[in-house]
Each structure stands twice: as C-alpha cells, then as structure tokens.
C-alpha cells in the first residue's frame, strides 16, 4: 500500500492535449475517484499510473519512489479493466494464479492466496470454469480477484461497473466498498457515473477537458461545487445568472427573478457588479402554497408547467419571471402542492445558493 503523487502531469497525443498539468496527491489506503465525462482525460491519467502511457511531462511517485519511467510490469499495480480482460484460454483459477506465478510465490502460499482472493469475491466454486462460462458480474469479480491477489501497491479500476446492468452495478458497488474496507488498499477508481463516485469515494477529483476541476470529499463536491461545470456534471442543478449587488457575510445577487441571497462564502471574494451564476439544487427548493412567511429570504413566485412522477419523489418544472425555468424536487408525491398551470411559491435557504463565476 502506497500513496500516489502526480506532479504536473501532461499528456499529448499528436496535437491533442488529453491531460494538462494535473497534480494530485492520493493518500495511503484512500479510495480515490476520478470522475468526469468521456474524453476528460481520466482514463489517460489512470493508464499513465499503470504505465501504459508515458506522460509527456511531469512525474509520478509511488510513495517516495519515482516510477514515471518504470515499465508497467514492474509497477506492482493491480488493474481492473473496463472489459475485464480475462484471458479466455485460462480457467478462473489460472487467471488469478498468473500474477503469483510470475512473482514466483511458493506454491503453498499461492494456493492459500488464490483461495483467499476467490473467497473475498465469492467465486470459490467457479475456480475451474473458463471465463466464457461466467456472467458479466462474475467476470468482474474474477478480474477483481486477479488484481487483488498480488497484493498490489495500488489498485486501479477503469470504469469497472460500466458493462453491468443497473442492479448488478449496485451490488458490485457495495462489494467494492466492502473489499476496500477489508483490505485498506489504495484504490484509484475512474468512472463517469456520479452515483458511484458519490457513494463510494473518500475523495473525488472531478475532471473536465484534461484538467482537474475540483477535488474534495463527495459532500463538498456536491454541495459546494467550485464551478458551473462541476455543478452541472454532478447531479441536477438550476442555474440563475445575475450580478453581485452586495458582498459581505451574505452575498446579494440581482437576477431576473429578483434578488437572491447566498450565505455560502465564495472561493475568492466577489466585487460588486461581477457576473455570477447562482446554482440551486432542485431538492434544496421548497414549495409553499402561499407567501405566508413574508419575512423569508429567497421567496419567489412561479407557475407550474409540468409535474413528473418519479416514484419516490415528484419533479416539478416551474416558470419564473423573465422566462427562467427551474426544476424542483418535491419529496412527497402523495402530498401534491399544486397542479400544472397553478401559481406557487418557491423558497430556498441562502446556504443552498452557491454563487459561481460563469465559465
């Protein structure tokens, strides 16, 4: 188990810069996520850590050891590939044994560790099967066992769940968390699925266009996005553009729908008059039938355009003054607040309004 440090890593393919100037520190035993849309450079970054690409510039350290130029087979990483990459001409057991054989592990220890690894992923009874006889989820487990059995310094997971169906994905998600907690290995996990990242990660690096846009624990990344890109990529968000009218303890933003108040301290102080966008999560907005509590801040009237029933909640589309549309999540479908066409009031706490500099 090691910490992984990326120092100013860049990678260009021909003309295209896939990763530009990324620096990261991943702690020992951390379950670290790299999250972003396809083409953001996250897989390229992971493959550089595995050694399949050489960075154009920058350094990669495992602990104190500079492994930037080390070929992949000397890095002792355990990688789980998107398509599992199990070798079809070997049985499950042989797949798992391969890494140990290459390490010349004594046979007895091999047997013990293979047994342990297969137990850990609950595949013991499939040891003699060929990968072709396994379902996707089972193949995934074998790939995981193969990566873990060698006691890698760091486990690399490249979109490991993307080829599984929704239910299996949830199951494997719990499984990976459990295995990580049992082993405490450093794991670097690449995905474009925000739910995977939010539910599993110790920390997340949100990536876009080859750059790291924000690093933080899931809660921070979700509730305090540092840029509209991050806010947009993770979860649903309403954006309302405006201008800063007043700064201080709270920021007052003048918008087309009226003044909005944010109590979230900005990363860098705003100057009055600056252009900003206010991000408000749909589930942070409450629907109230009348303008009863007049004293409330961030109270806006709106008309309901459409209501979408989603089982555990309903999603309202509402139109505000100046033709702005917002999405609102109402957690109690059985207590409907209004019908389409009706007027309604929206309110939200200033601590849920994040003012960001537009991109």
């Amino acid at each position: 188990m090691v910490s992984v440090t990326l120092e100013r890593i860049s990678k260009t393919f021909g003309e295209v810069e896939a990763v530009s100037d990324v620096s990261l520190e991943i702690g020992k035993g951390e379950l670290f996520f790299m999250l972003g849309p396809s083409g953001c450079g996250k897989t390229t970054l992971l493959r550089m850590i595995a050694g399949f690409y050489l960075p154009t510039s920058g350094r990669i350290l495992f602990g104190e050891r500079d492994i930037t130029q080390t070929p992949p087979h000397k890095r002792n990483t355990g990688m789980v590939f998107q398509n599992y990459a199990l070798w079809p001409h070997m049985t499950v057991r042989e797949n798992v044994a391969y890494g140990l054989e290459l390490r010349k592990t004594p046979v007895e220890e091999q047997n013990r560790r293979i047994q342990e690894a297969l137990e850990m992923v609950r595949m013991t009874e499939y040891a003699g099967r060929s990968p072709n006889q396994l379902s996707g989820g089972q193949q995934q487990r074998v790939a995981l066992a193969r990566a873990l059995v060698i006691n890698p310094d760091v486990v690399l997971l490249d979109e490991p769940l993307s080829n599984l169906d929704a239910k299996l994905r949830l199951e494997m998600r719990d499984e990976i968390r459990r295995i990580h907690d049992e082993l405490g290995t450093t794991m670097i996990y690449v995905t474009h699925d925000q739910k995977e990242a939010l539910s599993l990660a110790d920390r997340i690096a949100v990536m876009g266009m080859g750059e790291v846009r924000q690093i933080g624990d899931p809660r921070t990344v979700y509730t305090r996005p540092s840029s509209p890109f991050v806010a947009h990529f993770i979860g649903e968000t309403n954006f309302i553009p405006g201008k800063v009218a007043h700064t201080g303890e709270e920021t007052v933003i003048e918008t087309a729908v009226g003044p909005l108040i944010s109590s979230v301290p900005p990363d860098r102080p705003f100057v009055p008059g600056a252009d900003v966008v206010c991000c408000i999560r749909p589930e942070s907005i409450d629907l109230v039938s009348g303008s009863a509590g007049d004293e409330k801040t961030n109270l806006i009237s709106a008309s309901v355009i459409q209501i979408m029933y989603l089982g555990e909640h309903e999603q309202y589309s509402v139109r505000l003054k100046g033709d702005t549309t917002l999405k609102v999540v109402h957690p109690h479908p059985d207590r409907r607040k209004a019908e389409p066409g009706q007027e309604i009031w929206l309110t939200f706490d200033p601590s849920h309004v994040v003012a960001l500099t537009p991109e």
């Binding site: 393919f13 021909g14 849309p37 050489l54 070929p71 990483t77 398509n83 070798w87 290459l102």
Partner: protein, 584 residues
C-alpha cells in the same frame, strides 16, 4: 459541455485500426525494437530489395555507364518481340476467360441463398490445389493431337482430322489451364467486392427506377470494381509470368521461358536483365494502377464486418440454373486433375482413348526411385525450413504492425506485401544473378536461397493470418498481463500466442503447402539434382520418354492431396477469412 474525445492516433496511418490504444513505449524506439527493425531491414534489404536493385542496375549499366542498349536489342530481336507479345496476350486472354467464369459465380454466391451453398462454394475452390503445369501433363494426354479426346472423336467419326485443341502452338492450352486454376482467386476477390456493396445502395438505385443490367452497369459494377481489379491483377501477373505451364506445352516463345533459358549464360548475355526489368515494370505498373483503384481498402478483412446480408433465397428455377452452372464449371475445372489422376494410374496410355492397362505401381516407385524419393524429402525439408522462417518473421511483423508504433511502419507493411505482386520468376532471377559468385551462389549450394525465396514469397500469407489474429485480440488482454508483472516477452508467449495460435497455424499451413508447390523459384533456383524439390523433379521427369509422364503425374497427385488437405484445415480454422489471404 463539449465532449471532446482525444484521438490517440490522429494523423497516423488510417489503414491500421485507428481505434487501437497507444501502448507503453508506443512512441519510443526502444533498443529492442531497434534491433528487431534493424534485423528486418537487413533481411528485406538482402533478399528482396538488393536482388531487384541488382537486376535493374545490370539492365541499365554496362561498364559503368547508363545505357538502354539491351532494351534496344530486346526490341529488335524478333524472337523476343514475339515472346513479349505472346506473354501479354496470354495475360490478357487468361484475365478475360477468368473474368467470364468468375463473374457469374460471384454473383450467384453473393446474391442468392440456397441449400448446399457452403459445399458448392467449397467445391469451387478445389481446382486451386494443383499448379497448372502439373495439370498440363494430364491435359496433354487427353487433348494432344493423338490424345484421348481426338481419338474418341475420330473413332466415333465426328471428325476426320485431329483437332488442335491447344490452338496457336499451345497458346490456348496455357490460357485454359491458367484460367481453370486461377478463377477461384478471381471469384474470391469479386465476391469480397460484391459483398462490400451495401445492398441499400442497390435498393436506392432500384428506388430511383434502375433495374436489371442498367442497375448492374451503373451501380453494382462500379462499386465492386476494386475487388475485381484486385483479382484481375493477380490473374494477369500470374499468367504473364507463368513459367511451368508454357514449358510443359512447349510454348517456348513467352517471356518467362526466355528468361529461364537465359539463366545459363547470364554473363555473356545480359539480355535477361532487360527482360526481367521489363516484366518487373509491367507488374509494378499494374500493381500501382490497381492500388489506385482499390485505394486504402487493403485491410478490409480487418475492418468493419457490418455488411448487411446482400443475399436473398433463390427460386426453384434460379437454383437449377445456379447448380447446373456451378457444377459444370467445377466439372470442367477438374478435367486436368482427373487427367493427371488417370495418367498416374495408367501403365500404358498411348494412342488409345483410355489407358490400355492400369497400375498403381508409380505411386510406389516415386518413393523408391532415387530422383523422386529425394525430391519429396527435399521438398519437405525446404518447405519446412521456409515455413519456420515465415512463422518467425510473420509473427514478428504482424505484431509490430498491430501493436507498436514506429517510423517506417507503412513501408514495412508495403515491403512485406510486395512479394504478392512480384512474380516468382523475377525474384528467382534476381537471386541467381545477385548472389552469383558469393557463398549463396545457387550453382554451388541452392538450398539457402531456395528456402529464403519460398519464405519471402509466402510471407504475406503468414503476416495476414497473424495480423488478423492480433487484430481480433483485445489489447487489454496483454495489458492485463503486463499489469500482473509479465514482461512484454512473457506476455507474448503466455497470453498473445495462445490466443492467436489458430491463425498462426492456418498461415503456416498455407505457407508450407504453397512452398511445396512453388514452381518458378524451384525450376530456376534448384540447379543440382541432389537438391531438386518436387516441382523441379516433375519437370525433369517430363523429359524422360518412357515412364516420365506417369511418374510425374503420380508426384503431382501427391502434391495435390497434400495441398487439398492443408487448404481444408486452413478453411476450417479461418472460415470466411480464407478468401482474404489471396487478395492483393
């Protein structure tokens, strides 16, 4: 949010799969890679480029000065003039006849579905199993002036004087034999071209009101032209440079035979060089033209396999026509084979319709007789060695082409495939001339150059088979192996090789069996009887009056069975990909 996917391979050769991820050291020339490339440069330099260059140099330079003297002499010499014309005519005639046979076959097989289609398309390939010059031996028995057919016709009284079946001093004999041997290659190429015509294109043409011949002429034909051209070029070059068949028919005024005859006195008579250069220029020009037509579709086998099924069930009448047509083609194409078989089991066959006595003794005697027994052994050894060379080089080259990125990759690809277009005659001539006086001189010890010439000529089959295997295999399998701690070599040995072994076996079998039946290289390079391979022994036997043709036929049958078996195995392994191996 713009979703820009970085293109790892933008700007590099588009014919090689561009979706292939870059690998470790992909952009670097590692020392190991440099050594491998250096080795390949040396090999191809010495055994492909140097001999060709040597021939060119000797054709244009006399005593250190550039001159076109030999070409002038060549064109003034009436024999050479006639030879050139004859060869060109042979090529053209063979191409036309082959086209006429192949077009309907390809059309029937690509556009219609019917019972027994698989078997029928397999049957159509059978004629390939015998080099036409062997078939010529049997054909001479049947169609000669006093061969079976004429005797039969005379007996029945249909004709009074024997018909000259081989017309023009053997010209048509050569053409027919070559066409019957080569039409499978042509039809495989046309079929591939037709299959690549998206049926929706035809449908939209129909939708516009085109139909029947008009549809074929305006839409289908232009679209399948690249495939047709690829096949036509092979056929033309083959017939243009075929040495064995004209020799057996004693149709001596063709370029190939002229060159063959000039081999013995190369030093006194440098005309041979000019003649070879002429052949080379014709073939390369054609090859270049075909490339222009075919464009960048050389690796279609490796490309997208998403062509929608273009076929429809045949009606009863259509099926009857298809069966009658295809079966009679197979029947006619197998006449040479049948006649060789008949010759090989006849004890005496002279001036009678059928052999007067039968025997299987010749099959025994080819293993006893010194010349033939040794030739069989020689062929096995020579072909075996050349196949080993092909396996090593083929795997190496296919691996480099699919898995590594390095400068000169296109060039390596082109050079490896060059022997497909290069007549064996030209290369063999280059070997004899270029290495004369060195330790590789064929007049002293022909074995090394025989092995190398077989290897170079059959390398494309091996490379293509291996290439297809590597291409099908996910690179992630190898990466997973490296990730587990395996070095690149261990990965190749334990992961890559086992997964592509079927392709390697198929390629090796093809390389081996075609080497066994290599004609022009063997005739030219095997200068000493001790080193004669099967084909040269067959040729030598033809000169023996008494039992020559019978023993030659028995040898031919042996080679035929061998090639048939190996093609069957290869077909089983490669399935539909089989046809791709014969494409330019």
């Amino acid at each position: 949010m713009a979703d820009v996917r970085p293109l790892p391979c933008s700007g590099v050769d588009a014919r090689i799969d561009t979706s292939m991820p870059l690998r470790y050291f992909s952009s670097d020339l590692t020392p190991g890679l440099k050594v491998l490339l250096g080795f390949l440069v040396l090999f191809f330099g010495a055994f492909l480029l140097y001999p060709l260059f040597y021939v060119f140099a000797n054709a244009f330079y006399t005593d250190g000065t550039f001159s076109l003297t030999f070409f002038g002499l060549l064109l003034q010499n009436p024999v050479q003039q006639r030879s050139l014309l004859n060869s060109l005519e042979l090529g053209i005639a063979a191409t036309i006849v082959t086209t006429l046979i192949s077009l309907p076959i390809a059309h029937a097989l690509v556009r219609y579905d019917f019972r027994g289609k698989g078997i029928l398309s397999g049957l159509l390939l059978i004629p390939m199993v015998m080099p036409p010059f062997v078939g010529a031996i049997g054909m001479k028995q049947m169609f000669a002036r006093f061969g079976s057919i004429n005797l039969l016709l005379l007996e029945i009284g249909i004709i009074d004087t024997p018909i000259d079946w081989f017309g023009g001093g053997g010209f048509w004999g050569v053409v027919i034999l070559e066409a019957l041997h080569l039409y499978p290659i042509m039809y495989l190429n046309i079929a591939a071209g037709l299959a690549n015509v998206d049926p929706s294109l035809e449908e939209s043409a129909r939708n516009m009101g085109a139909s029947g011949f008009r549809l074929f002429r305006t839409v289908t034909f232009p679209l399948m032209l690249p495939g047709y051209f690829a096949g036509a070029i092979i056929v033309f070059i083959w017939a243009f440079t075929d040495l064995g068949t004209p020799l057996i028919f004693e149709f001596r005024e063709v370029v190939a035979v002229q060159i063959f005859n000039m081999m013995s006195d190369l030093h006194e008579n440098p005309m041979g060089y000019a003649l070879v250069v002429f052949v080379m220029i014709v073939t390369l020009a054609l090859f270049y033209l075909s490339k222009k037509f075919i464009g960048g579709r050389r690796y279609e086998m490796m490309g997208r396999g998403h062509v929608v099924s273009a076929s429809r069930p045949a009606t009863g009448v259509e099926m009857a026509v298809i069966y009658a047509g295809l079966l009679s083609i197979v029947g006619i194409a197998l006449i040479p084979h049948f006649s060789v078989l008949l010759t090989s089991v006849s004890d005496r066959w002279f001036m009678t319709v059928l052999p007067s006595e039968y025997t299987t003794a010749y099959y025994g005697s080819i293993f006893d007789h010194e010349l033939t027994a040794r030739a069989i052994k020689n062929s096995l050894i020579l072909s075996g060695l050349s196949t080993l060379v092909d396996i090593v080089l083929g795997i190496l080259i296919a691996y480099l082409l699919t898995r590594r990125r390095f400068p000169g990759k296109d060039l390596l690809d082109a050079v490896t495939m060059l022997p497909l277009a290069l007549p064996g005659l030209v290369l063999a001539f280059g070997y004899v001339a270029g290495f004369s006086g060195t330790f590789l001189d064929v007049r002293i010890w022909p074995v090394p150059l025989l092995v190398i010439s077989y290897a170079v000529r059959r390398l494309p089959y091996m490379v293509r088979s291996a290439y297809a295997g590597f291409q099908q295999m996910s690179v992630a399998m190898e990466e997973a192996s490296m990730n587990m701690g395996a070095s690149p070599f261990t990965t190749l040995w334990r992961i890559t090789m086992p997964l592509v072994i079927a392709n390697l076996v198929a390629g090796a079998i093809l390389a081996f069996s075609f080497a066994m039946l290599e004609v022009s290289d063997s005739l030219i390079l095997a200068t000493k009887e001790d080193d004669y391979p099967i084909t040269k022994a067959i040729y030598a036997l033809m000169g023996r009056i008494a039992d020559g043709p019978y023993m030659a036929s028995a040898m031919g049958m042996l080679g035929m069975v061998l090639l048939a078996c190996s093609l069957l195995v290869t077909g089983k392994v490669l399935g539909k990909k089989m046809g791709e191996l014969f494409k330019v």
